[in-house]
């Protein structure tokens, strides 16, 4: 197991560099540059060249990449060109809000999704199963932008139970968490149900019934333990989305976060901000995948062999 983890860890290094190249090229090849945002009415014509040289934007792309990745490896995320502050400071301010929102939403759809999936599997092909699956299907198709505004209208405007927007306290987390959570719940519920139904058909379950074990104990302990293996894998893959998957929700609810920071950076072509945010989000997804593999190997020895 230890050897497996070491081997997978070493693979992260080339993946990191590949991700960094893609991230770097992505923003640099998109039309536009930050210099236009820095020029103001009255700037003399030579100001463009001055600014371009000041931020090293006149250097060949490969040189710019080399400088950037060298700084990253030294722990320096650079200084935002438009926002004029160390990128690390900007991300350190945004990250707690993204973690709070993402982690809360993650917890919500994990608990609710697994609960609904298990319930649906216990009443397989009967009305509770159909109701739950129809409900989660409907929930998963609603665009988060629209859903957020709808929840805002109901709970903030009509009922006045919750604040409309902002990030001042826990009450302002509820609607954003619900908005993200309802979509994630659908995926988790469906996978849990499928995994439960498949595991219920296995021989060992029949044996447990034959031995006289309580049916609920069989379902909620023995079957669920096995069914959680694919669920845990999917949840681990979604860890990356904890940080970056809430862009529209952050905008609708006027919450700070990595998503808002990234969007602002893209609109302004603030290269250091976009590069750092995208690299961090890429690594979050990659590490989530790695974690998913490790967890799967821990939970299922057969997986260790196939993953190796």
């Amino acid at each position: 197991m230890f050897g497996f983890i070491i081997k997978r860890s070493l693979l992260l290094i080339p993946v990191f560099f590949a991700a960094s190249i893609v991230v770097f090229l992505l923003i640099h090849l998109v039309p536009g540059d930050p210099v236009d945002s820095l020029l103001t009415v009255g700037s003399p014509p030579e100001q463009r060249q001055i600014i371009t040289e000041r931020y090293g934007l006149d250097k060949p792309l490969i040189v710019q990449y080399g400088i950037w990745i060298g700084d990253i490896l030294r722990g320096d995320l650079g200084t935002a060109i438009i926002m004029r502050r160390p990128v690390a400071d900007l991300m350190a301010e945004a990250l707690p809000y993204s973690i709070a929102l993402g982690a809360s939403a993650f917890l919500f759809y994990t608990i609710v999704g697994v609960t609904l999936g298990v319930t649906a599997s216990l009443f397989q092909d009967r009305w509770p199963d159909r109701t739950i699956m129809t409900g989660v299907l409907f929930g998963s198709t609603l665009p988060s932008f629209w859903l957020g505004l709808l929840l805002m209208l109901i709970f903030s405007v009509w009922l006045r139970w919750l604040p409309v927007s902002g990030a001042r306290d826990v009450s302002s987390l509820v609607l954003p968490v619900l908005t993200i959570g309802l979509g994630g719940t659908a995926l988790v519920a469906r996978i849990t149900r499928v995994a439960m139904v498949e595991t219920q058909r296995k021989d060992f379950v029949m044996l447990l019934h034959a031995k006289g074990m309580h049916p609920l104990h069989i379902q909620l302990v023995r079957v669920l333990r096995h069914a959680l293996i694919p669920v845990v894998t999917i949840l681990a893959l979604r860890i990356g989305f904890v940080l970056g998957g809430a862009i529209t929700v952050e905008i609708v609810f006027a919450r700070p976060g990595i998503g808002t920071l990234l969007v602002r950076g893209i609109m302004q072509h603030d290269y250091p901000v976009v590069q750092a945010c995208l690299l961090m989000l890429s690594m979050a997804v990659i590490l989530g995948t790695f974690l998913g593999d490790v967890l799967q190997a821990l939970m299922d020895p057969r997986a260790r062999v196939s993953l190796s």
């Binding site: 700037s43 003399p44 301010e93 709070a100 405007v157 409309v164 927007s165 826990v170 006027a254």
Partner: protein, 524 residues
């Protein structure tokens, strides 16, 4: 613990708070900034690329503009310009203090002016040769050349006077955790992208007379929230989460009027929508075709049908309140469909059976660029239909605002619907200067006579009167060449809770900033 780790823990602690949201206090005004002002990264005015209303409350300027764009004393109680324009002398107000107790005097101003060097705003003082402290309250600027626009530059939020010692001492944190000026409000806290909290400067008594109240301000505390999404900010107003919206999008105006406690106020704005034509690309390389397109734009119909009759109809490239907008009547561009059709006939573009004109077998087909913003799309669709009435067949091509500037630089565009937001005549130099083709000179206009007039306007004017006269001449010439057509001049809409906010009767400033807020009151 590193600074980043401190930020992280502080942020985690903040987001883990269990306290319920505190309602707005009786002596606190909560307002949502308008969309264009969201995203200010710092209150260090020599680093910021944009500003918001808070900048005008933290910092005073030497000079302010009144509602007619005239210059009135602020921290400079008077000034003189030498007849040759090579010297400016400013007499400073006495008894003024910075928020940290440091006295405001000529040395502080000199030190502040010296900070412009090496920043992106160095050109503000590009014509200044030497800064001379004449005495404790008099400062003189010796110039290399006349610069009548100096007063404008010093009156903008970027001319807000920062306390040099505080800026130096706070280093990179200046503008984030502290911002020291002489303004009617002090910075209490600034959460970037979220909100700015200001507290009243109780020592403030030296406000400019653009406001009836010269200090201290009436409202004790102001919380300025940054809400980028228009629907969200509107819902905050209707639910009492904010007391004011500094900018209300057009689509919410009718909804706002339905709310019993919501009042609306309009003020002149600084924006112009216009149609720009690439003078180097067919068919707009023919001045008759450009003039025809310009005259085909029915500004009245756009104002009435798209903007509910609010706003102004521009006939030049500038907002109506600027003195340099006052060109001779024969240069003004006004809707005249018959004349537009006659010009196209004259240029050889004859009407076809399908209504589209053609010349030598080629249809009068153009591509009209626009941005993905909903206002731009609506305006561009109407322009497309109006051009069709004259015989143009226009296809629309939409770009996002971030990448469209790069597209202009390629020079392949024919026409585009754009807007700009500015309140000074130098906007002509910016958009029509021959040395900036592509962007910002989207019309690719580069005309020897225009360049001559431009140079005279920008660097040959000794006094404000000459500046206005020379810019009018430059403006008239540009108008005569039809590289653009004016479309619409919006007004600014401010919505407020009429039960909480008492608006002043008159506001003697171009936009809703320091002067208006000084006279603002909260109902008890």
């Amino acid at each position: 613990m590193t600074k980043h780790q401190r930020h992280l823990w502080a942020g985690l602690g903040l987001s883990a708070l269990l306290a319920l949201s505190a309602p707005a206090k009786a002596d606190e005004l909560v307002a949502a900034l308008k969309g264009a002002e969201v995203g200010v990264a710092t209150y260090d005015m020599l680093k910021a690329i944009n500003s918001n209303v808070a900048s005008t409350l933290i910092y005073d300027t030497l000079i302010e503009q009144d509602a007619n764009h005239g210059y009135v004393p602020a921290l400079a109680e008077s000034w003189e310009e030498a007849p040759d324009g090579l010297q400016w002398t400013f007499h400073l107000k006495q008894g003024v203090k910075f928020h940290n107790g440091v006295d405001f005097n000529a040395k502080e101003v000199a030190d502040w002016l010296a900070m412009f060097k090496g920043t992106d705003f160095e050109y503000y003082l590009g014509a200044v040769k030497e800064i001379v402290v004449v005495d404790e309250h008099t400062i003189r600027l010796d110039m290399t050349r006349p610069d009548p626009n100096l007063l404008y530059n010093l009156s903008t939020p970027f001319g807000g006077i920062m306390e040099p010692g505080a800026r130096k001492a706070d280093g990179d944190n200046y503008g984030l955790t502290a911002a020291v000026g002489t303004g009617p409000y002090k910075l209490e806290s600034f959460a970037v992208g979220q909100e700015t909290v200001l507290v009243r400067n109780d020592d403030y008594t030296w406000g400019a007379k653009t406001a009836a109240n010269t200090g201290p301000a009436n409202i004790e505390r102001i919380r300025l929230r940054e809400i980028g999404e228009a629907s969200t900010s509107f819902l905050e107003l209707t639910t009492g989460g904010v007391d004011m919206l500094f900018g209300v999008p057009q689509e919410f105006l009718s909804e706002a009027t339905k709310q019993p406690n919501i009042k609306l106020m309009t003020m002149p704005d600084q924006e112009i929508y216009y149609l720009v034509m690439n003078v180097t690309a067919a068919p707009f390389d023919d001045i008759r075709v450009r003039q025809a397109a310009a005259l085909a734009v029915n500004q009245q119909a756009i104002k009435d049908n798209l903007f509910g009759g609010a706003g102004n109809i521009p006939s030049t490239f500038m907002i109506a309140s600027l003195p340099e907008e006052k060109v001779a009547d024969q240069f003004r561009i006004k809707f005249d469909l018959d004349r537009a059709k006659a010009l196209l006939d004259e240029a050889g573009w004859m009407s076809g059976a399908d209504g589209v004109r053609a010349k030598d077998g080629q249809p009068l087909k153009i591509t009209l660029w626009t941005q993905s913003d909903s206002n731009f799309r609506r305006v561009t669709e109407v322009i497309q239909a109006q051009l069709k009435d004259a015989g143009f067949a226009a296809d629309l091509l939409t770009f996002d605002s971030a990448s469209i500037r790069d597209q202009y630089k390629a020079g392949t565009h024919q026409a585009a619907v754009r807007s700009y937001f500015y309140d000074n005549a130098t906007i002509l130099d910016w958009f029509f200067g021959g040395d900036r083709p592509g962007y910002p000179n989207i019309s690719m206009f580069n005309d020897p006579k225009a360049e001559e007039l431009r140079n005279v306007a920008m660097t040959g004017s000794k006094t404000s009167e000459e500046f206005t006269k020379n810019f009018i001449a430059y403006h008239e010439y540009i108008l005569s060449q039809f590289p653009f057509a004016p479309i619409y001049e919006p007004v600014g809409n401010i919505a407020f809770n009429g039960d909480r906010v008492i608006m002043p009767e008159t506001i003697n400033s171009p936009v809703f900033q320091r002067a208006a807020i000084m006279d603002l009151k909260l109902a008890n």
